[in-house]
């Protein structure tokens, strides 16, 4: 089991999916420095406590409490699967986070949002912020919130982006689930799925 140390950000009572993605990619790169993806994460429950990654060894039974399940690598390569699970330990600390500042120059055109000149910050943070912004404009669901539910990237982009980022909202199943395509420098690299969720008190 590999515990992760990421903070709550802003006023969120849960750990952000983008931060879990970042921690998972770091974990994968520690396991294999040449790791380049693909990465899939399904978030099953909002992670509200300290947590850890655990790898699935030989088709073991899933843990009883699972925040997320993940898949790393290619089917015919060294694919690894596993889970994000709650663990005993101090609650994550909290830091300030201004998500809107990451995407202040975004341009929205119908179901497409684009950041032609990405600002400083991680690629995943900007992609998630853009997708959420697009949802809030296209499909406002207050008092519920749009939450990142599934990440599906064919290749990983971990560092600060240098090319344009474009998000296209392509499927909407009410407020249950949406699928958005993620383009980097004009190339489709994966999908993000968001669900409408009522966020409970922390």
């Amino acid at each position: 089991m590999f515990s992760i140390n990421i903070p709550f950000k802003g006023n969120r009572p849960y750990l952000r999916g983008a931060d879990i993605y970042t921690a998972l990619v770091e974990f994968a790169k520690n396991q294999d420095p040449l790791f380049q993806g693909p990465v899939t994460i399904n978030f099953r429950h909002l992670p509200k406590t300290a947590c850890a990654f655990t790898l699935n060894n030989k088709d073991m039974t899933p843990p009883t409490e699972v925040y997320a399940d993940f898949s790393l690598g290619k089917e015919l390569g060294s694919k690894k699967t596993g889970w994000l699970v709650p663990i005993d330990g101090a609650a994550p600390h909290r830091i300030a986070f201004d998500e809107d500042a990451l995407i202040k120059d975004a341009i929205i055109n119908d179901k497409i949002i684009e950041l032609i000149t990405p600002s400083s910050g991680l690629f995943i943070d900007q992609v998630v912020a853009l997708t959420k912004k697009l949802h809030m404009i296209h499909r406002p669901i207050a008092p519920s919130s749009w939450i990142l539910t599934r990440i599906e990237f064919e290749e990983i982009l971990f560092d600060e982006p240098i090319l344009s980022i474009m998000i296209k909202l392509v499927q909407i199943l009410g407020s249950r689930l949406t699928r958005s395509e993620v383009f980097y420098g004009g190339k489709l690299i994966g999908n993000l799925y968001f669900s409408g969720v009522v966020i409970g008190a922390s």
Binding site: N42, F43, R44, G174, S175, R176, L177, R179, Y193, S195
Partner: protein, 77 residues
């Protein structure tokens, strides 16, 4: 159509891949959770080029109901 649905179910829930599924039993009882179910409906939309109305989504929880829905949409078995 049923074969395609089984393939899609196996994709969203690998634990069910290749298993014999009773078409009248709720997929939620067979192990799909709400995220798997929503993923399945998105996959159905894409595979069959149909739109699943939000009001229908919660009722499409068995193979039988999915088949009936697709037939009602003009998809041939």
């Amino acid at each position: 159509m049923q074969e395609t649905l089984r393939r899609l179910i196996g994709q969203v829930s690998p634990a069910l891949a290749g298993k014999t599924l009773d078409p009248s039993v709720s997929l939620l009882e067979l192990g799909l959770d709400s995220l798997d179910h929503a993923n399945l409906l998105l996959a159905v939309e894409e595979e069959f080029s149909v739109k699943v109305p939000d009001e229908d989504a919660e009722h499409l929880i068995t193979m039988d109901s999915l088949v009936k829905f697709l037939k009602d949409q003009g998809i041939k078995a």
